[in-house]
C-alpha cells in the first residue's frame, strides 16, 4: 500500500482580490520506504504541497492520504496531531530553538508528542550516524550550518514519523555540507526504511533520491 496517496489535489490562496492557484490537480503515489525528490522552479507549488502533507495548511480540494488517513477533513486540532505524530519536517533554515541545547531541541519534539523515556538504542545510533553525538550539550549557534541541519533531521525523525518532509534542506549549505546531509538522508532511508520526500532545485541533489518528480505551474510530472 502507498504511504502517500494524492489525487487531483488543489490549493487556492486568496491574496487580496485575486485567486492564486498554487496546486492545480496534483496526483502522486509514494511507496513506503521510498526516497522521492521534488524539483521545479521557484513558485511552482512545491512548498505548498509539502505544507499540505505536513498538516501546516489545509487542502482546498482533492484526496490526500498519509498512511491511509485522509487529510481533507482534518480540522486544526487534527492537523496538530498529524504534525505531532505522523510527519517530520526539515526546513531550509534549520529552525532550531536558539535558547535550548541540541539535546533539548530534540527532546522538546518528544515532549510535545508526550514521550518521556530515554532515547532508545536505534535513535542513539541515528545520532551517532548524524555526527552530532559530541555536540548534544551545545547551543545551536555554536554549531555549523551543516551540523544544525543534521540536528534538525534528528529532531524530525525522533518520533518515528510515517514520512519525513525536507524542503530544500541543503539550500543554505555549501557543496561539502550538502553532500554530507544528502548522504545521511539516503543512508537513513536505506537503513531504517524511513520514507523521505525532499524538495530541491539542484539536479545533483535530486540524484540522491530513488525517484524524481517535477512540479510545473502547480502540477506534477514524472521526470
Amino acid at each position: 500500500m502507498a504511504i502517500i496517496e494524492i489525487q487531483n489535489l488543489r490549493k487556492t490562496f486568496r491574496s487580496g482580490d485575486v485567486d492564486v492557484h498554487a496546486l492545480r490537480g496534483v496526483n502522486l503515489l509514494v511507496e513506503k520506504g521510498e526516497f522521492l525528490a521534488v524539483v521545479g522552479k521557484s513558485g511552482s507549488g512545491k512548498s505548498t504541497l509539502f505544507h499540505i502533507l505536513g498538516g501546516l495548511t489545509p487542502p482546498t480540494s482533492g484526496v490526500v492520504k498519509i498512511d491511509g488517513q485522509s487529510l481533507t477533513d482534518l480540522d486544526e486540532a487534527g492537523r496538530t496531531k498529524l504534525r505531532r505524530n505522523s510527519v517530520g519536517f526539515v526546513f531550509q533554515k534549520y529552525n532550531l530553538l536558539p535558547t535550548l541545547t541540541i539535546r533539548d531541541n530534540i527532546d522538546i519534539a518528544r515532549d510535545i508528542s508526550g514521550k518521556t523515556a530515554p532515547w532508545d538504542a536505534a535513535f542513539l545510533e541515528v545520532v551517532e550516524l548524524l555526527g552530532i553525538a559530541e555536540k548534544l550539550d551545545r547551543k545551536p549557534r555554536q554549531l555549523s550550518g551543516g551540523e544544525q541541519q543534521r540536528v534538525a533531521i534528528a529532531r524530525a525523525i525522533v518520533n518515528q514519523p510515517a514520512i519525513l518532509l525536507a524542503d530544500e534542506p541543503t539550500g543554505n549549505l555549501d557543496t561539502e555540507n550538502s553532500d554530507m546531509v544528502l548522504d545521511l538522508l539516503r543512508h537513513l532511508n536505506k537503513r531504517t526504511g524511513q520514507t523521505v520526500l525532499m524538495i530541491t532545485h539542484d539536479p545533483e541533489a535530486a540524484a540522491f533520491a530513488d525517484r524524481t518528480v517535477q512540479m510545473r505551474d502547480g502540477e506534477l510530472y514524472s521526470a
Binding site: 521557484s42 512548498s47 505544507h51 505536513g54 501546516l56 495548511t57 486540532a77 496538530t80 496531531k81 498529524l82 504534525r83 505531532r84 505524530n85 519536517f89 526546513f91 531550509q92 533554515k93 529552525n95 532550531l96 530553538l97 536558539p98 535558547t99 535550548l100 533539548d104 527532546d107 522538546i108 519534539a109 518528544r110 515532549d111 510535545i112 508528542s113 529532531r155 524542503d167 530544500e168
Partner: protein, 364 residues
C-alpha cells in the same frame, strides 16, 4: 522539558526578566508596606496605650474607639470618677490635634507618671517652665531634637526639657493646664485613665460607672487594646482595597507588556513548536509558566523590598510611622499579584496559541 525552555527564555533576556520582576515586585511592596504600616502603627499605638498602666479609660460621648479624640469632655467627670469605689488613681488627658495625624498631649505629670511607673528619661527631665515640652526618643530622632532645642507647634516655640523612652501614650507632651489654655478649652479634657486597687475589679467598676454615665464609652484597657485592629479603621481598609486593585492592575500591565513583546519576539519559536505538533494548550502552558515564574520572582523581590521600606521608615521617620513585617500578607500579596499577572498574560498567550505555524516559518 517545558520548564527548561521557560527557564532558558528568562535567562536569555536577563534585563527583561529583572525589570519585569522588579516592577511586579513594586506592587507587592506597595501592599506589604501599606499593610505593614497599618499593623505597625496600630501595634505601636497599643503598646503606648499599655504603657499608661491604667486598668480602664473613660472617653467622651460619641468618640471613636481608635481615634485620638479632642478636648470635649467636662473635667467635672473627673471628680465623679475619683469618688468611685476601687479607684486608686484617675488622671485626665487632653489631646489637641496639630494637623494631620500628629497631635500634642496634655498631662498632669505627677499623676500620669505615678500611674505608669514613671518616665524613663534618656536625657533631661520633666517640665519646669510654661513653654516646656517633653518628647519621646523616636520623635527626637526624627526631628533631630535635643534637650534645650526648640520645637514649634500651636504657634509657639517650645523648649525640650526631657526626652523619654518611647511607650508612654504620646510622643509630645505638655502640661494639661497649658494645653487647655492654648486651645481655649479651660475645664475640658479628652479622656480619663483610671487605675484600680485591683485589676480584678475592672468589670465591676465599669458596670457601676455605666449606670451613672450611660453616654460615656468606658473600656477596660484590655478591651480597648483589642480594638486596635485594621477592622476598626474603615479608611485604612478602603485604602488597602485601593492599593490591592492598583497592584493587580500593575501586575497586569507589566506582564501584558513583557509577555506581549515576548510573543512578538518569539513568533519564530512559536512557529517551530507548532510545526513540531504543539497545540494551543502547549504554547499557552509555556507562556503561563513563564508568567507564574516571573510573578514568583517578582513577589520575592517585593518581599525583600518591603524590608527596604521598613528600613527607610525606621531610619528617617521613626516617630511618624512604624512598619511591621506582616508574614500573613506574604502569600496574600503574592497571590494577588499572580492574579494580575495571569490576567496580563491571557491576551498575549491567546495570540500566541492562535498563531499560524506558517506565518513565521517563511523560508524563501
Amino acid at each position: 522539558m517545558v520548564y527548561k525552555l521557560v527557564y532558558e527564555n528568562l535567562k536569555h533576556r536577563p534585563v527583561r526578566t529583572l525589570l519585569s520582576s522588579l516592577a511586579i515586585g513594586l506592587g507587592v511592596t506597595m501592599m506589604l508596606a501599606l499593610v505593614g504600616v497599618g499593623e505597625g502603627m496600630l501595634e505601636d499605638q497599643a503598646n503606648r496605650a499599655r504603657g499608661v498602666g491604667a486598668d480602664l479609660v473613660v472617653r467622651a460621648p460619641g468618640s471613636s474607639v481608635v481615634g485620638m479624640g479632642s478636648l470635649s469632655m467636662n473635667q467635672g467627670i473627673l471628680e465623679y470618677v475619683r469618688s468611685q469605689k476601687h479607684v486608686a488613681l484617675a488622671t485626665p488627658i487632653g489631646v489637641h490635634s496639630t494637623g494631620g495625624v500628629s497631635s500634642i498631649m496634655g498631662i498632669n505629670y505627677e499623676e500620669f507618671a505615678a500611674m505608669g511607673g514613671g518616665f524613663r528619661f534618656r536625657e533631661g527631665g520633666k517640665f519646669s517652665a510654661q513653654n516646656d515640652v517633653i518628647i519621646d526618643d523616636l520623635y527626637a530622632r526624627e526631628k533631630k531634637l535635643k534637650v534645650g532645642s526648640f520645637l514649634n507647634t500651636m504657634n509657639r516655640d517650645w523648649r525640650v526639657s526631657g526626652i523619654f523612652a518611647s511607650g508612654k501614650l504620646a510622643r509630645v507632651m505638655i502640661p494639661l493646664t497649658v494645653l487647655q489654655e492654648l486651645a481655649s478649652a479651660k475645664g475640658k479634657i479628652t479622656m480619663i485613665y483610671v487605675k484600680l486597687d485591683d485589676p480584678a475589679n475592672t468589670q465591676a467598676v465599669i458596670d457601676a460607672m455605666k449606670k451613672d454615665l450611660p453616654e460615656y464609652p468606658i473600656y477596660a484597657m484590655d478591651e480597648l487594646i483589642k480594638q486596635f485592629s485594621v477592622n476598626n479603621l474603615p479608611e485604612l481598609k478602603a485604602f488597602i482595597g485601593v492599593v490591592v486593585s492598583l497592584a493587580v492592575l500593575f501586575g497586569f500591565l507589566v506582564v501584558f507588556l513583557a509577555m506581549y513583546t515576548a510573543v512578538l519576539e518569539r513568533t519564530r519559536e512559536i512557529g517551530i513548536l507548532k510545526a513540531l505538533g504543539a497545540g494551543p494548550g502547549y504554547v499557552l502552558g509555556i507562556l503561563l509558566r513563564e508568567t507564574v515564574l516571573l510573578a514568583i520572582i517578582g513577589s520575592l523581590c517585593g518581599i525583600l523590598m518591603s524590608y527596604g521600606t521598613r528600613w527607610l521608615i525606621s531610619t528617617f521617620i521613626p516617630a511618624s510611622m512604624v512598619q511591621a513585617i506582616v508574614y500573613s500578607w506574604w502569600p496574600i500579596a503574592s497571590l494577588i499579584t499572580l492574579a494580575g499577572a495571569v490576567l496580563g498574560v491571557l491576551y498575549p498567550a491567546l495570540k500566541a496559541a492562535k498563531q499560524d505555524a506558517l506565518d513565521s516559518l517563511s523560508y524563501d
